[in-house]
């Protein structure tokens, strides 16, 4: 391609045809001021401040650098007299409708308009006159819009529409009356605004300001700590802003590989109030057996009691009477030490993490069919490259919002979208095809898709022949799943199913992205394997813009699995029952280890009731809230001889503990989260822990020593080195590499290995990919005359799981603070239930009350509830039916009855 030659302030630059002057200046290292420009978007060209002087063939003109393309021979001046004069004029005009009482503006000190006026010596406007006198919109709990400070640069609008893809706001009216607003002049709080605050971050003035800014000035920020968001597994990179008093005052997005400068409402606004909550546990607590009350204890008392009690139980009932669960919200180092403690000191493999109740089916299923139980492709790859996205049982706009934003960008760019989901989720509206299938029918759906692909001859025969096994058996099964039969099982249209199959199969690049709608079933693992079946059938694996991509739930649920917090696996999915594996770990850790797989978390509770499990150590889980069939979980905890909980808060589960150990939050420690892409994301210490709360790794290490295992005290970096030394897929990783700016994705076996963005390139981890012959099996509990509705549970945008963290942010509670149940309007009419009515929701396991949200989001006969709220937590009624492989409970389908309360 021919290059264009220009000079910027005399500096020669070569650029490609089509490059703007702003881009050329970037190459020359010359800074041109901008107000409205957003790098990744088409130029807006509205603020004019990037005006430069261009001389070519004897002619001179002024133009905006953001939108003017370079022409051969352009001599561009960015600070000539004419340019400076033009910019002064522009600032003068902006100030003609912008007050200069900067003292009272929250953006004082971080306002681009203020900085430019200062730089160009513009103190006031030379054209005083009428100024906007519009009401300030203070309705959003997290930010304020003051239209009188707005310079109409449209950065917020462009961010909202083109980057976030929400489109809640736009420029309304015309000329002097122009104002940024939601439609019909609605308050922001009542609009479709998702409160993500990316518009606020984009605003160059004080028009859109975070309410946090009323509590600090930019110069009071003592340090900015780059770390990883602690909510979902997207692994957004951001800064925690810490003031001189050692308190976190705000957040700021960083351009990380998975979030590219974006944050959602939880990350930006709900990720540190909990850290500084007065409700944090500050001291070890021991329950007084007489009074049943918790009493403050010293660390020595608590640790001595915990160590001696577990060793006593081990002696009396054997190692397998003990179990320890890891926290999938804690870094890899913490998870590693927890499972090491369970394996070396308890001498059992009874360890697990809460992936058991979210994506254990993905870990098990994809390990069986492909060899690696993880997302195959990176987020950027599956949102920027595909022609078609097949989204199954996943509502990323709410559960993985920053991935949701990137999928919306993909759709805007023309990528086709197939949504397979029982609800009218936000993305269903933008989808080319929405298969609104009945919950629990994923296997039938996938078999139907494959039936169409095979009958149309669209399968990838070479891929099947060279890289897979088990095809014939699968082919014989899916033969029976004609579109008509599947349409009947799934309650969808056969033609839509056909169209979806053709769209997916014919696309060059098409990832399957799925989530808990696939896994949380009694046939969850088979659902997962059906996803890999579909992808293998059309050879969409091991390639860019393709793959099978489970969006993992919690920030480090991938890592907790990677770290061996699973009953059958050591770190890196090395099987506990393989002699070469246990021999290696016995050598590395210096003690004999159990050679048989342990119990899954969901099997530990029944075992406790049966008296087989006597002592339980839970690190950062709240199963009383999160696990299905709450009464059963409580009964199990009450059956234990000794129960220790390491936590940040006095949770529901904590009430049943004998000892509570206060741990450290993510903002108080060093470590690494593995995000959903298998990417290693650093977590860095920003503030000190409250009271006597301690680093979780230190607590484990002290306990290990007290239980007779000589574990030296190690820093997080040293623990990570130990992980690398025993885990081949982590062999080349270290904090040093990550701190140098690498965001490595496992496998990364050696120091010179760049990590593996895409799995299964050329060869599956398993060798040959296996087509699992999955037959559709109905859910364990189907509706009947007594319990005629299906209930599914899930997550909403504004909260994370138990709400232990997000519930501490007042603004999130203001937006969504209590339980609700989505009911179809036809059912509601029949039952005499109106929108907002209190309803009684009952299943065979119990009943709760909630508030009806009546509409068409769910199909007739189906209902849906979020699981965040203690007033009407659906886990009192969900079914603990378990998947045969992964032991994951069927949260997505149970039978309920609805009545007006």
């Amino acid at each position: 391609m021919s290059l264009i030659h220009v000079t910027i302030d005399g500096i020669p630059v070569e650029v490609e045809k089509g490059a703007t002057i702003l881009e050329a200046a970037g190459l020359a290292g010359v800074n041109i001021p901008t107000l409205c420009h957003i790098k990744s978007l088409m130029p807006d060209g509205s603020c004019r401040i990037c005006t430069v002087e261009i001389e070519n063939r004897g002619r001179t003109r002024l133009d905006t650098a953001c939108s003017a393309h370079c022409a051969e021979g352009d001599q561009i001046q960015t600070r000539s007299e004419a340019v400076v004069s033009a910019r002064r004029g522009i600032l003068d005009m902006l100030l003609s409708n912008h007050p200069t009482n900067c003292f009272s503006c929250p953006s004082n000190g971080s306002c681009k308009l203020q900085d430019l006026c200062y730089e160009y010596g513009v103190k006031e406007t030379s054209c005083p006159g009428e100024m906007s006198q519009l009401p300030v919109d203070d309705s959003n709990p997290f930010f304020t819009y003051d239209p009188n400070l707005c310079i109409l640069c449209h950065r917020c609008v462009n961010t909202c529409h083109k980057i976030v893809g929400c489109g809640a706001i736009d420029t309304m009216e015309r000329g002097f009356d122009s104002v940024i607003s939601p439609p019909f002049g609605l308050p922001w709080r009542e609009s479709s605004c998702e409160s993500c605050g990316n518009c606020v971050a984009a605003c160059p003035t004080g028009a859109l300001t975070s309410k946090r800014r009323w509590n600090y000035r930019p110069w009071q920020v003592e340090k900015k700590v780059l770390t990883t968001c602690p909510h979902c597994a997207v692994g957004c990179q951001y800064y925690l802003l810490v003031n001189g008093e050692g308190r976190i005052v705000d957040t700021e997005a960083y351009h990380g590989p998975s979030n590219r400068g974006l944050l959602c409402v939880k990350g930006r606004s709900g990720s540190f109030d909990f850290v500084q909550s007065p409700e944090r546990l500050k001291y070890p607590l021991i329950k007084n057996k007489q009074t049943g009350k918790f009493e403050r204890a010293t660390w020595d008392e608590a640790l001595d009691l915990v160590a001696s009690k577990f060793m006593e139980l081990k002696k009396q009932y054997g190692p397998d009477s003990l179990a320890g669960f890891a926290c999938s919200r804690s870094p890899n180092e913490d998870c590693y030490m927890l499972q090491k403690m369970v394996r070396t000191c308890f001498s059992t493999n009874n360890t697990d993490n809460c992936a058991r109740v979210c994506h254990s089916a993905s870990v098990a299923g994809l390990a069986m069919t492909l060899g690696s139980g993880a997302m195959t492709n990176p987020i950027a790859d599956i949102t920027q490259r595909p022609d078609v996205i097949m989204l199954v049982g996943s509502n990323p706009e709410e559960a993985h919002p920053v991935v949701g934003m990137q999928i919306r960008q993909a759709v805007q760019r023309g990528c086709k979208l197939i949504v397979v989901d029982p609800r009218d989720i936000g993305l269903a509206k933008q989808a080319d095809i929405h298969l609104k299938l009945r919950p629990g029918t994923n296997v039938a759906f996938a078999n139907g898709i494959m039936n169409v692909i095979l009958s149309e001859g669209l399968e990838d025969k070479d891929f099947i022949a060279q890289r897979t096994e088990g095809f014939e058996q699968l082919r014989d099964i899916v033969k029976e799943y004609t579109p008509e039969r599947v349409a009947e099982i799934c309650h969808i249209d056969a033609e839509d199913l056909r169209a979806a199959a053709l769209l997916y199969a014919r696309a060059d690049r098409a990832p399957i992205i799925y989530c808990l709608g696939v896994t949380e079933h009694s046939t969850g693992t088979e659902g997962v394997m059906s996803m890999s079946n579909m992808a293998m059938l059309v050879g969409k694996l091991g390639r860019e813009g393709c793959g099978v991509n489970p969006l993992r739930g919690q920030n480090n649920v991938q890592g907790a699995c990677d770290m061996g917090c699973m009953p059958g696996d050591y770190p890196g999915y090395q099987k506990v029952d393989k002699p070469e594996v246990w021999e290696k770990f016995e050598k590395a850790w210096g003690v004999p280890l159990s050679h048989k797989p342990g119990l899954h978390a969901t099997d530990v509770f029944p075992a406790a009731i049966e008296g087989k499990i006597k002592g339980l150590f839970i690190f950062g889980e709240d199963p009383v809230v999160t696990d299905p069939d709450t009464s059963h979980v409580i009964k199990a905890l009450e059956s234990l001889d000794f129960f220790v909980l390491q936590e940040l808060f006095m949770t529901e589960t904590a009430q049943y503990a004998d000892v509570i150990l206060p741990g450290a939050s993510y903002a108080e420690k060093e470590g690494v989260f593995s995000n959903t892409e298998r990417r290693q994301c650093r977590v860095r210490k920003a503030v000190n822990s409250p009271g006597e709360a301690r680093l979780d790794t230190d607590i484990f290490i002290d306990l290990m020593n007290r239980m007779g295992y000589p574990q030296p005290h190690l820093t997080a970096a040293e623990i990570y080195d130990e992980i690398a030394s025993v885990t081949p897929s982590f062999g080349g990783m270290s904090h040093a590499r990550l701190d140098a700016g690498e965001y490595l994705q496992w496998p990364c076996p050696s120091k010179d290995h760049p990590g593996t963005p895409i799995l299964h390139v050329g060869k599956f981890s398993r060798g040959l990919g296996w087509f699992y012959p999955a037959e559709y099996v109905p859910s364990a509990e189907l509706p009947d005359s007594e319990y005629p509705f299906i209930l599914s549970t899930g997550r909403i945008l504004y909260h994370y799981n138990t709400r232990a963290m997000t519930g501490k942010t007042q603004g999130l509670m203001e937006i969504e603070g209590s339980s609700f149940i989505e009911v179809n309007e036809k059912d509601a009419v029949r039952l005499g239930i109106a929108n907002g009515d209190k309803v009684k929701v009952s299943s065979r396991r119990g009943s709760i009350t909630s508030v009806a949200r009546v509409g068409a989001k769910v199909s007739p006969g189906e209902t849906w509830m979020p699981f965040h709220f203690p007033d009407g937590n659906p886990n009192w009624i969900t079914n603990a039916a378990l998947d045969k492989y992964a032991r994951i409970p069927e949260y997505k389908v149970c039978a309920i009855r609805l009545e007006k309360a």
Partner: protein
Amino acid sequence: MLDQSYFSKADGLIARYGKKSSAIIPVLEDIQEEYRYIPRELLTYVADMLGVKESKAYSIATFYKNFSFEPKGKYVIKVCDGTACHVRHSAPILAAMQKELGLSEKKHTTDDMLFTVETVSCLGACGLAPTLTVNDEVHPKMDPEKAVALLRELRGAGV
């Protein structure tokens, strides 16, 4: 709740102009012409059907002066206040009409929904200045008396 017939009307227009985002302006124009305003619920409906964000649709509807969320009168009178008409005394014409109808800068439509009086920047008929239009019919070389007489004539016809 808007009558179902409005949505059927919108469906027909969407079918005519195509279910694509670029159809938003012609569809809104026809709705404006049919009902003399754009019912808010219908804007939301049309935006949704065409895959246009509601905020974008509202932005469009408030940008163009032709669109109105308030029902306009049976006779929409546009008094030209372009340069040529202005220097030929269009302002007194507007004032006379507003006075006759009890309208103002803020109130453009009579309570009986017969008249809407608004200004327009230029009708492009400068040779006929000062001019105004009644439902797109041009009335050239006006003065306050002729304008008031026109209103009375229309009122007679309209009742």
